[in-house]
Amino acid sequence: MENAVQDQKKVEYWRWTESRWTSPDLDWRDGGVISAGVDVGSVSTQAVVMVDGHLYCSSSMRTGSDSPESANNAMSWALEGTGLTLDRIHATVGTGYGRVNVPFATRAITEIACHARGGNFMYGPSVRTILDMGGQDCKAIHCDERGKVSAFLMNDKCAAGTGRGMEVFADLLGVHITEVGEMSFRVAEEPPPVSSTCVVFAKSEASGLLRKGWPKEKVLAAYCSAMAHRVVTLLERIGVEKEFAITGGIAKNVGVVRRLAKEIGIEPLRSDMDAQLAGAIGAALFAKALHEKSAKGA
């Protein structure tokens, strides 16, 4: 029995599924400009390749301890099976926390600009507010119809309201991070949110609730709504303008997204593309623009 408990502890509940994708409709051999974007975040790294501004292939992986290696790995995985090689890509832009450490990048561009540009591509020109909830930060960005940033704020001071905070909870409760959202709705009625903003204190608060006999679902509901509320207060400074979209890993957590939408009273836009790719897509679009600019100059 004791062994069983120990084995269970080794499961990495926070580990989300890594993925790759290739467009069934496109072939890079038919295209003109091949551009790439790599978003090296603190928790995950995404690589995308675009052919003439259309999404061709992508990958999303956990960031390793070494940024250049993470960028290389993500890119190789994205290109796997496509026959496309790095030397055929016209321009690459690096973005995210490790953006200056992308060995094959033409240029580094801040993730704020890339998220706006990528959000514009994914959700259409009507999107005005993009909320990016990443692994270690939370950004709110206003942009115009071309995806140009008009205001932003970024909170990277603490883990409250970030993917990292959610990972801590998944681990504490022994629930896979991909199941947290759905599970948090399996409650008879919505419990009051966890009172501490600080993840460390929220964790001890949650441990207390579990000892009190609260089911995991109820504790998750209390944390998801605390997190949604935290992000809403963060948004107050720049406000939310319609249309509104959520990007980043937390966008996949319905437990947070639905509570957040309810609190601000605006339904977020949906996209058939992976919300975690927004930064990398923006970077690839910038790479295309850079290539076209230099081609014109030459």
Partner: protein
């Protein structure tokens, strides 16, 4: 663009806002700040831009309340008298607290 650098926590909102439409890239604010909070960065938001922009150094965004402490009213400064605000002739820099 309104670039907000800082954070919000249980103690309040601590943001330095740079209005990039007003910032002319002169860099006068950089030496004016006794805590070396401000830096000039390449304008990554606009590929055609030729001028640099003032920004809060990443070393300070997470502790801006403390970094700016020595120039705040508690230390005897009036808010309009902050060295960075005075140094910016274009009026591009504002503090939220």
């Amino acid at each position: 663009m309104q670039a907000n650098y800082g954070y919000k926590d249980g103690a309040g909102e601590f943001f330095i806002t740079i209005d990039t439409e007003k910032c002319d890239g002169c860099g006068d604010c950089v030496p004016a700040c006794p805590q070396h909070v401000l830096v000039m960065i390449e304008n990554e938001f606009d590929l055609d831009a030729e001028k640099e922009l003032a920004a809060v150094s990443a070393l300070h965004t997470k502790k801006i309340k403390y970094s700016c402490g020595p120039c705040k009213p508690a230390a005897g400064y009036a808010i309009e008298d902050l060295p960075c605000v005075r140094a910016c002739a274009a009026g591009a820099i504002t503090h939220s607290w």
